[in-house]
Amino acid sequence: MLFKKQDKTQSESSEGAEVKKSAHKGNSHYLSAKESREIAKSNARAMREYEKKKRVKHVDESVYTCKMQDENNIVEFDDLHTYFFTDAGVAKAVDGVTFSIPKGATVGVVGESGCGKSVTSLSLMQLVQAPQGQIVGGSIRFNMGDKAYDIAKMPINEMRKIRGKQIAMIFQEPMTSLNPVFRIGYQLDEMVLLHTGCTKEEAKAHSIEMLKLVGIAAPERVYSCYPHELSGGMRQRVMIAIALSCDPRLIIADEPTTALDVTIQAQILDLLREIKQKIDGSIMLITHDLGVIAEMADYVVVMYAGRVIETGTTEEIFHNPLHPYTIGLQKSKPVVKRKVDRLYNIPGQVPNPIDMPNFCYFKDRCDKCIDKCNGEYPHFVQVSPTHRVSCYLYEEKGAEGGSNE
């Protein structure tokens, strides 16, 4: 018995050593104590620097005033870099994202989980989890109407005036996005009182009107409810009501229907579409549901591992997808009336965005990989005036790439 036991522990320990060894060899993210100390040190330095920059009290307006490239855009992301300074190294969650949101349009951002969709939108609100997450480069130009601000350079004090009033956000989790200890009415009023400076009675009237607008049947009753007394769909409606209450020019909807069941999803999407027409604003819709995009969006941005790999109008992306990743995403979506034995899935996972080598990030999962893909990261190829793709397959062919399907 005793011998047996010993044997077992021996084999266990040898196993453990093996695992360790393989981790050391195979996994490039294995860190020695020295390396991890260095990372921690450089992280601390970088974080301190960026936090200091953000906290500066009085920044001259000229520092963050800029000019829109196209006056018809409400937001222009230009080479945006948002990094997370983690203990394992710098995670480049958003690495050179460039796209724009035209006025009055709905732009859908798609990609798998961990592609940097949410971080892009949070950067636009300056809500990236600080101090680890920081906007380290690029610019986000926001059109204020008569002038334009570069949100990446804005100090927090000024940013506050834009949050909620100019750009409102609807979050993914309606169950946890409302403060559980305040009544719905208070949470709605707060926003109105903060940005418009009206009286409490006016705020209440406005809030109830907003609740009515988002299709809540008994707004007066809901007004005095606590969040836990409402269902998920109701809460998401309340979230939308909060987002709309100051007539924002841009609404960011970060997977607004992911946590809801299908019937409520449809209702919420209808509501969003309806509301967009009413307030004449733009919507940045983040989702990994291509069906939602097809239904809602005018333009589509496909993101992969922190980069934009393909952009175009919804028509172009759905009828003529070019990037193998976009094609894969579409294939992995069930289609009514088409019979398949197994639903297609893209093999592998989104790579960890730490210390990424300079080649196409999708290379290892791509079934159309060519020799050229081992070269540096592909540049954008303009396929049509609105359609761009970043893939070597289309580099020379240019516009010919359209006949791919």
């Binding site: 949050r163 989790e173 200890v181």
Partner: protein
């Protein structure tokens, strides 16, 4: 709600019964009872076993454990005289009955008659009532000082996580938590009482004879040092608790929503996050009830303050089973009430909780 409270109270009574049985059994099995402690060193008594037996009978200490407990709990006024007997041989007790050899005509703890303290020679309830308030004042004032301070420091530390303020308060409060009471008391006494001579030990100055406000100020002055020690010792845990809670709340989704609304960092932290942080904090407060009235044995003994803590400490040392039982039952009742209050506090501060 009402039904729930009734249920909890009934359960509490059951708990208190259980506690009393365990306590009595433990105290009864402690070697060296009150009579031994007090009279064995007296040569006149020590030489006469008969006298010792007489004393034991007089204090009701010669009953068996179970018999003694029943007498303590339910009194012996209802017991017939014939239950009490002893077989003596030449004055020495050979065998005492299950109930002991003497009927004392007590009414028992069930009738709130906790008997007479052997050491203080007064009814236990009276001794507790007389000395409770000194301890209460000491703990309450310290609590009023350290609790808000700890909550404030914890919140600040959480907001500036990993900053200089966070590290400084963490280290300092950790030092505070790590000190044993007697050690910190000894240091404080050495510095402020003996070296600097700013304070005195005890509750009142030895030659003081005033009353009214004079007495109040004199006593308040004497309580400053112990309060200081309590604050230093207690602030750490509450501060750490606040900090942990606050950090958890600050990473919640609804805080991001609050920021997305455009609220200032101040109102995000001190309105939206703070109210959520306070939910566990307030309930902890209700759980502090026993320590509020129970006093602190070591602290009061160090500073020679005649509070309930010091009294029970002395009683414990001398085997005063009546007083120790009374004091511990007092604490047990407070603990049970504190637990019920904690539940009620949850309903008050958290709209999601409903008691059924």
């Amino acid at each position: 709600m009402f039904k729930y409270i009734v249920k909890r109270v009934l359960l509490g009574i059951l708990i208190i019964f259980g506690v009393s049985i365990i306590l009595y059994a433990l105290l009864d099995s402690v070697p060296g009872d009150f009579v031994e402690n007090r009279f064995m060193s007296n040569p006149n008594v020590a030489n006469s076993p008969a006298r010792i037996n007489q004393m034991r009978a007089l204090y009701g200490l010669d009953a068996s454990t179970l018999g003694g407990y029943i007498k303590w709990m339910f009194g012996d006024w209802w017991m017939p005289e014939k239950w009490f007997w002893g077989i003596y041989d030449d004055g020495e007790l050979i065998e005492a009955s299950f109930w002991g050899t003497m009927k004392l005509n007590t009414h028992g703890a069930i009738a709130f008659d906790f008997g007479t303290s052997f050491v203080y020679e007064a009814p236990v309830t009276e001794v507790i009532a007389d000395h409770m308030w000194t301890s209460f004042a000491l703990t309450l004032v310290s609590l009023i000082i350290y609790y808000p301070l700890a909550v404030f420091l914890g919140t600040r530390a959480a907001v500036k996580q990993y900053g200089a303020f966070d590290y400084t308060t963490t280290v300092l409060t950790m030092i505070g938590i790590s000190f044993p009471t007697f050690f910190l008391s000894a240091i404080v006494i050495k510095i402020f009482v003996y070296d600097l001579g700013w304070f005195e030990l005890g509750l009142t100055s030895p030659d003081f004879s005033g009353s009214g406000w004079d007495l109040f100020w004199n006593q308040a002055w004497h309580l400053i040092l112990p309060m200081f020690v309590v604050v230093i010792l207690s602030i750490g845990s509450v501060m750490r608790y606040t900090r942990t809670n606050m950090l958890e709340v600050l990473s919640a989704d609804y805080i991001r929503t609050a920021r997305a609304k455009g609220l200032s960092e101040r109102s995000v932290v001190y309105k939206h996050a703070f109210k959520n942080t306070m939910i566990p904090m307030v309930t902890v407060l209700a759980g502090l009830l026993p320590s509020l009235f129970g006093g602190s044995m070591i602290l009061e003994d160090c500073f020679n303050i005649p509070g309930i803590g010091q009294y029970s400490y002395n009683a414990m040392n001398q085997g005063d089973i009546m007083f120790v039982m009374g004091y511990n039952m007092f604490l047990a009742v407070l603990t049970v009430i504190g637990m019920i209050l904690t539940d009620i506090m949850y309903v008050v501060v958290d709209p999601r909780v409903k008691l059924t």
